[in-house]
């Protein structure tokens, strides 16, 4: 069985955009960067923004990265209008999980011995903590996966969620990615030579079988026409030499075979990885390469970025505009596009994204970027 998969809800929480599809669409029409801060510049989400999204009583029980996940997930489910009781799966992609809680748990022991161990923090040391808390928050009772991979966790989570819907195993999946910035993690990534611009946040999409979405009158904000993921040979955390992979070809074939007309790529400023991705795309798509964009320079790299690219691709396919990261007018495009992710270590993801049949509504009362967010 292979069913059409549509996007019926979007939730974005990062330093540049907070909201559902209207906020995202408004930002993509005139994208602006959030200035990186800190000694090792990174794009951070202001605490007061997050505080405005999660009830204080609930927030006290949740780690910060779980709050990010739940906030974006709720935005997406609310926009879709889906009743989770009808069946909702969950796929969370994350590169780093809840390291902040893991470090705090270890510090409890190192400073106070066994008496310093927190039974409340311990569950957060397992990377499925975001999925576990979000499943409770949105009443998702079907499969709930957490997928861990560097760089492309968000793209992979959406691809996996779309595959579950396409196969007929479930009618609806909430899928996306999330990561947060942590000083110790930054120290470790520095030690490993990761030199991309880092960010944090969460983006989630509700994916549904088109027939089921139509039957309940749900919006169709975009279409996931084909997905595939594979691995290109590379050492752990490494950049490979090979440039051939069936991921792009398989995704395009599943989407009907038409060549993608534009690209969202995972380029994040990690110079060696970005160069490898360019070679892989050239090998798969030939020349001239379709116009391409990455939003990493605007919001920083995190697992939510891959899902953000899928949501943005849905907007591009509907609006006919590939946004310009420098805030310019963007590039006029037509047809379906490709969301592409390539990770250190060789994880390779491709999604063909097309237009839905619902217009993206502008954010109410909004001109320019959807929210004036502080950047401290």
């Amino acid at each position: 069985m292979s069913r059409n998969v549509v996007v019926t809800g979007i939730g974005v929480v990062n330093a540049a955009v907070v909201g559902a599809s209207p906020a995202l669409g408004a930002w993509l029409a005139r994208p602006s960067a959030v200035p990186p801060t800190g000694a090792r510049p990174a794009v951070r989400l202001p605490e007061r923004t997050l505080a405005g999204l999660v009830d204080p009583a609930e927030a006290r029980r949740l780690s910060r990265v779980c709050q990010l996940t739940i906030a974006a997930a709720r935005l997406a489910v609310a926009e879709s209008g889906l009743d989770p009781a009808r069946g909702l799966g969950l796929v969370v992609g994350s590169a780093l999980g809840d390291f902040t809680s893991t470090i705090a748990f270890a510090d409890g022991f190192l400073t106070r011995g066994p008496g310093g161990l927190s039974a409340l923090l311990f569950p957060n040391t397992v990377m499925n903590t975001m999925a576990a808390t979000t499943a409770i928050a949105v009443a998702s009772r079907e499969l709930a996966l957490t997928i861990n991979v560097p760089t492309v966790a968000g793209e992979l989570a959406v691809a996996r969620g779309a595959a579950a819907v396409a196969s007929g195993r479930t009618d609806a999946v909430l899928a996306g990615g999330v990561d947060e910035l942590d000083p110790l993690v930054a120290e470790m990534l520095d030690a490993l030579g990761d030199d991309g611009l880092r960010g944090e946040g969460a983006t989630f999409l509700v994916l549904e079988a088109e027939a089921a979405a139509r039957a309940r009158g749900a919006p169709s904000l975009g279409r996931i026409a084909g997905v595939a993921w594979r691995a290109i040979p590379a050492g752990p955390w490494g950049v490979g030499r090979r440039t051939t992979s069936r991921a792009i070809g398989d995704a395009v074939t599943r989407a009907g075979g038409a060549a993608p007309q534009w690209l969202y790529v995972s380029a994040s400023g990690d110079a060696r990885r970005d160069a490898w991705e360019a070679r892989v795309l050239a090998a798969a798509l030939g020349a001239p390469r379709p116009p391409a964009v990455s939003l990493a320079a605007l919001v920083g790299h995190h697992a939510g970025l891959g899902a953000l690219h899928v949501a943005a691709a849905a907007w591009t396919s509907r609006s006919g505009v590939l946004p310009a990261p420098d805030g310019g007018a963007g590039v006029a495009v037509t047809g379906d596009g490709l969301v592409h992710g390539l990770a250190r270590g060789g994880g390779h993801v491709a999604l063909v994204v097309g237009s839905g049949d619902t217009a993206w509504m502008p954010a109410a009362g909004h001109e320019g970027p959807p929210m004036e967010l502080p950047t401290s």
Binding site: M1, L90, A95, L96, G97, T102, F105, A106, D107, F109, L110, G113, P114, L117, S118, A119, F122, P123, T125, V126, M127, N128, T129, A131, A132, T133, A135, I136, A139, S140, R141, E142, L143, A144, L145, T146, I147, N148, V149, P150, L156, R160, A163, S167, R169, M188, A191, L192, A228, W229, R230, A231, P233, A234, G235, P236, W237, G345, G346, G347
Partner: protein
């Protein structure tokens, strides 16, 4: 959808390296839970665990968990007789939780002492759960679809379910799937903090059970489309006939009291395999030996299968709870139970819990010819998985 069969097995367990050692230990009802040596447990009430003995394979630059995974996955591939070309297209799905945390903890503990540890890049690179898949893919030349799933203690079983879906849907013809976890301080301390560890070897389904024992290990299987396995003359062990994956959406650590999510997972697996409850002869239980888990799991099994008839055993009584490896090690135990027509026992079970209405195969393995068997795995966050195996 295509039928999926198991054509290769690999395991590294607290009984040692290899499927042969694993089955010998299980069939003998031996208990591999002993005083802990890998980490300092002196400050804790529980000081025992099931460690893998004599782990010598591989480079010392690799994390202990990576070495466990590599040994098990290599054995599974060798057992299946897959060639290099087939591996290049094979999917790889890994269930993991702790990653290379054991070595990273040493770095962090040293850092906390005020030292300036150097030369730790390999440990930091291997710290995340996804690192095992990168290492295995690179070392074994696995170039098909690849991902790492983290569903806490059910991760290893989810990996098999994920791989089976890829094959059933025609995305891949062959897959290597399994779970791995090495002992870590965080895990041992965490379950101590939750007061879930028994200072004595665990006793699943015993009236006087007092909690779990931690273990470590890895198990991988090779899954193939049945037609393809037949075409290349491979010998299938069993068919992976169905699976069910559900979520409680109830609590981050406690299972839902009525076992609804567990029931849905078992029923989904039966439905996927087109099998009635009466056809199931054996259930390898999640069986952690915590008072709460065993009571709720027994209740859930009874809701699906009725009281009494089903043989139920908990192999954690012998190898401890091996975390992300548990689901795949128990899947291998279930497969071998079908193949050898022998039900592995529940070790240390002296006084059966009167609330558990099943024959839990106390202490001694039992001969039984079974056509279908299930393996249950449940994780923090109410992440429930049931795998259904059928003899071929």
């Amino acid at each position: 959808m295509r039928r999926v069969v198991v054509t290769g097995l690999g395991a590294v367990s607290p009984f040692g390296a290899g499927v042969k050692a694993y089955w010998a230990g299980l069939a003998a009802g031996a208990c591999a839970i002993r005083p802990l040596t890998l980490i300092d447990a002196g400050a804790f009430r529980c000081r025992i665990a099931a460690e893998v003995p004599d782990l010598r394979d591989g480079s010392s630059r690799r994390s202990r968990a990576d070495r466990l995974a590599l040994a098990a996955a290599t054995e599974a591939l060798d057992d299946a007789g897959l060639g290099r070309r087939e591996c290049a297209e094979a999917a790889l799905i890994v269930g993991a939780v702790g990653g290379g945390m054991l070595e990273a903890e040493e770095w962090y503990w040293a850092r906390a002492r005020g030292e300036r540890p150097s030369g730790w890049a390999p440990a930091l690179r291997a710290i995340l759960p996804g690192a095992h898949a990168e290492m295995l893919g690179h070392r074994l030349g696995l170039g098909g679809p690849r991902h790492t799933v983290v569903t806490a203690c059910s991760s290893g079983a989810v990996a098999l379910a994920e791989a089976a879906e890829l094959i059933a849907d025609g995305v891949a013809d062959v897959a290597v799937a399994g779970g791995v976890d090495a002992m870590t301080r965080l895990c041992f301390m965490g379950f101590n903090a939750l007061k879930l560890l028994d200072p004595e070897p665990c006793r699943p389904f015993d009236r006087d059970r007092r909690g779990m024992s931690i273990g470590e290990g890895a198990a991988f299987v090779v899954l193939e489309a049945a037609e393809r396995a037949r075409a290349r003359g491979a010998r299938p062990y069993v068919e992976l006939a169905g699976h069910g994956m559900t979520t409680d959406a109830y609590h981050v650590t406690a299972p839902e009291p009525e076992g609804d999510g567990m029931v849905r997972a078992m029923r989904a697996a039966l439905a996927a395999g087109g099998v009635e409850p009466a056809a199931i002869g054996y259930a390898n239980a999640h069986g952690t030996a915590t008072p709460q888990n065993d009571r709720i799991e027994a209740r859930a099994i009874a809701r699906v299968f009725g009281d009494g008839r089903l043989l139920v055993s908990a192999t954690k009584s012998m190898i401890g709870h091996t975390m992300a490896a548990a689901g795949s090690l128990e899947a291998v135990a279930t497969i071998l139970a079908l193949v050898y027509e022998t039900i592995p026992p529940t070790a240390n079970l002296a006084i059966p819990d009167p609330e558990v209405g099943f024959d839990c195969v106390p202490r001694v393995a039992r001969e039984a010819e079974v056509e279908h068997a299930i393996s249950n795995s449940f994780g923090f966050g109410g992440q429930n998985v049931t795998l259904l195996f059928r003899r071929v």
